[in-house]
């Protein structure tokens, strides 16, 4: 037993899976402690308008913060080249290439335009673009888009100094706070009193995705644990009883097991979930329902293993030594199948989490507004509010990655254990 535990710990596959799983588990425990607050609170705009990033309070940048002026030559060029987005550069190039094909102007072929060189790119744009020029290959919509782009590019160079006023509540007049804010004035970000960090932006409800993701991971792990425990307990008990006692008890157990085998578990799950009222469908209830529909394979495999064990000589010897049936089952049968049961349990946790995700994506998962699950997050972002169309990758990619990591780590642990306990698979 000890040597087996040691070889599990030495197994690279098991330890990799274990480390990933424990890291996820620790994250769900530690993150809420260092970043407290209600994960479900709606802090931002709806519909994915808050991209991932660090948000600096505009007010605090102007109010009471030292400004620094750096005399860097071309500071304005840096600003403009950073402001000019990648897709705008691509579009400028597109227009220039189409124009170049039409007018045969030297320097406007695809290879010669460098979109990284902001000065040259904008120079070409202003040299050739005008809304009167008619480029044949463009659609009307594209022509309009290029007109809007031209206006936007002009605005990049509006570097009139700003003046900032504050309202004096006593006199009702505006006092000048800053006489001018120039484009080469800087502040130190750490001086700003109010910064919000949203590493994964906000979702369609305007909640912090990272906070919600951590909560959802914890809930999903809980669902997996409950579903796995329920399924394994039922499966183990029925399998042990059916396999060891045999006879009519076995026949009755196998009747129900076969019944549940031929009915697809997921269909049963959908029907039960649909049959429950909205108010009853909490996370734990859904987990129990998942567990109640997925015990079948554990029962079958435990039963067949017990059947081959019960006629072994060591069981006969134990009987001859006068041990009672419960004692024989616990001491002479259970240890022999324990490794298998632990492995089945790990897979049940993994499949429980996946089943919840599947149910939730169909809209039949936990019905609650007080917590989130991984499946519900996918449902909200993909099914209900089309994060795809908004390009809001941060609302669903991290969720998919977490589901993937959990199920990957659990399966890796299972494979690692299998290699230890199943001598045929040993390296």
């Amino acid at each position: 037993m000890k040597s087996q535990l040691r070889s599990i710990v030495r197994s690279g596959k098991f330890m990799t899976g274990f480390v990933i799983f424990v890291s996820i588990l620790l994250l769900t425990i530690i993150y809420p402690l260092i970043n407290p607050g209600d994960p479900m609170a709606r802090i931002g705009y709806d519909s994915f308008r808050t991209r991932p990033g660090t948000y600096v309070s505009l007010y605090d940048t102007l109010d009471g913060v030292n400004t620094f002026t750096f005399r860097i030559p071309g500071a304005n060029d840096i600003r403009i080249s950073n402001k000019l987005r990648e897709d705008d550069r691509e579009r400028i190039k597109y227009w220039l290439v189409e124009y170049g094909k039409q007018e045969e102007v030297a320097g406007l072929t695809e290879e010669e335009i460098d979109i990284e060189d902001t000065v040259a790119l904008l120079g070409l744009w202003w040299e050739f673009y005008s809304d009167e020029v008619f480029v044949r290959n463009l659609t009307n919509a594209e022509r309009n888009a290029f007109m809007r782009l031209d206006v936007r590019l002009d605005r990049l160079f509006d570097i009139d100094d700003l003046q900032v006023y504050t309202l004096n509540p006593e006199t009702g007049e505006h006092d000048i706070l800053f006489t001018e804010v120039s484009t080469d004035d800087y502040i130190n970000v750490s001086d700003v009193a109010n910064i919000i960090r949203l590493p994964l932006g906000t979702d369609n409800f305007g909640s912090d995705v990272l906070k919600k993701l951590v909560l959802a991971t914890a809930t999903s792990l809980w669902i997996g644990l409950v579903a796995g425990t329920v399924a394994t307990l039922i499966g183990l008990t029925l399998g042990l009883l059916g396999g060891y006692v045999g006879g009519i008890v076995d026949d009755i157990i196998m009747f129900f097991t076969n019944l549940f085998t031929v009915i697809p578990g997921f269909v049963l799950l959908i029907l039960i979930s649909y049959g429950m009222s909205q108010m009853e469908r909490g996370a734990t209830t859904v987990a129990v329902v998942i567990g109640l529909t997925s015990w079948v394979w554990t029962t079958r495999s435990v039963r067949s293993q017990v059947m081959s064990l019960r006629n072994r000589d060591h069981v006969n010897l134990s009987k001859l030594s006068g041990h009672s049936m419960p004692k024989i089952i616990i001491k002479d049968i259970l240890p022999y199948i324990a490794s298998y049961v632990v492995m089945a349990f790990i897979l049940q946790i993994s499949s429980g989490i996946l089943a919840e995700a599947g149910l939730s994506m169909l809209g039949l998962g936990p019905s609650t507004t007080s917590t989130a699950t991984l499946g519900m997050m996918l449902d909200w972002s993909i099914m209900k509010s089309t994060a795809f169309i908004h390009g809001a990758w941060w609302a669903y990619y991290p969720v998919i990655v977490v589901i993937l990591l959990i199920s990957f780590s659990l399966n890796l642990m299972n494979t690692g254990m299998d290699q230890v306990f199943n001598p045929q698979l040993r390296d």
Binding site: M1, R312, D313, H314, N316, L317, S318, K319, L320, S321, G322, H323, S324, K331, D332, P335, Y336
Partner: protein, 284 residues
């Protein structure tokens, strides 16, 4: 052999065991009668699949009897409840064929011996006495208790495991011992040692041994009475001399013919004689 002077220990009438139902029905033991007397060493000989092990399991009460009845110490055997079974098993014990699968690999071997002491009603004995009993049992089978204690079964050799099984019987001292081919998985050197120990134990306790084997020579060497089984039936029985020197059933003759002899050329079976001649010609 005057068997009427001795006490009838274990007997059966029309004992039958059927596995399966309907078309899948298998007759493992077919209407078998037997009378085993206390103190005897009885061999049951037969080839694989002749129902020897099934008969043993029925005698032990590990498998139900389909038909017929078994009597123990002159009375009809009653093992309906767990307590009665436990009482029965105080009188009848077994050594199995494969020592490697006879032990629970998860518990230390001490627990096997302790179970025996507990079964004999020694549950409340002080730990020191228990250790002394285990030490005595181990030394009976030439094992050192101090080397055995706190070990797991896989740390022992097959011969050591089987000797420990005999130590177990030494502690239990049953009236009847069923030995199901106890030497078939053991190498030839350990085999003689183990047989010697069984005989020594028998001399000391006067128990009856039912020895299951497929080796006619071994049966003749060991036993007082020999039962020959074929396809679930007992085809011949009697004292060892009677059966071996004057076999009546064809099956017994065949079994005797199959005993390997060192000096004579080995005939595998009568059907193969032609092949053997052909081989001789070919070689010459």
């Amino acid at each position: 052999m005057n068997s009427h002077d001795r006490q009838l220990c274990l007997s059966g009438k029309g004992v039958t065991k059927i596995f399966g139902f309907g078309s899948k029905k298998t007759l493992a033991v077919d209407n078998v009668d037997f009378e085993f007397y206390s103190g005897d060493l009885i061999s049951i000989v037969g080839e694989s699949g002749s129902g020897k092990t099934t008969l043993i399991k029925m005698l032990l009460g590990l498998t139900s009897v389909t038909e017929g009845e078994i009597s123990f110490m002159g009375k009809k055997r009653d093992i309906g409840s767990r307590r009665k079974k436990k009482e029965y098993w105080k009188g009848i014990q077994a050594i199995f064929q494969d020592p490697y699968s006879s032990y629970n690999i998860f518990s230390k071997i001490d627990s096997v011996l302790l179970d025996c002491i507990n079964m004999r009603g020694g549950r409340l004995l002080p730990r020191k006495t228990k250790i002394e009993m285990m030490r005595e049992a181990c030394s009976f089978v030439n094992l050192k208790y101090d080397e055995m204690t706190n070990k797991y079964p896989f740390e022992l050799s097959g011969g050591q495991m089987q000797r420990l099984m005999i130590a177990r019987i030494f502690l239990l001292k049953p009236k009847i011992l069923l030995a199901d081919e106890p030497t078939s998985m053991i190498d030839a050197c350990s085999r003689a040692t183990i047989l010697d120990m069984l005989l020594k134990l028998r001399d000391e306790t006067g128990m009856m041994i039912i020895f299951i084997t497929h080796d006619m020579g071994l049966a003749y060497y060991l036993s007082d009475t020999v039962y020959i089984m074929e396809k679930g039936k007992i085809v011949e029985f009697g004292s060892a001399d009677e059966v071996v020197l004057n076999p009546k059933a064809d099956y017994t003759k065949q079994l005797l013919n199959d005993v390997p002899k060192i000096h004579d050329p080995w005939e595998f079976s009568k059907n193969r004689r032609k092949d053997a001649q052909w081989t001789e010609q070919f070689v010459v």
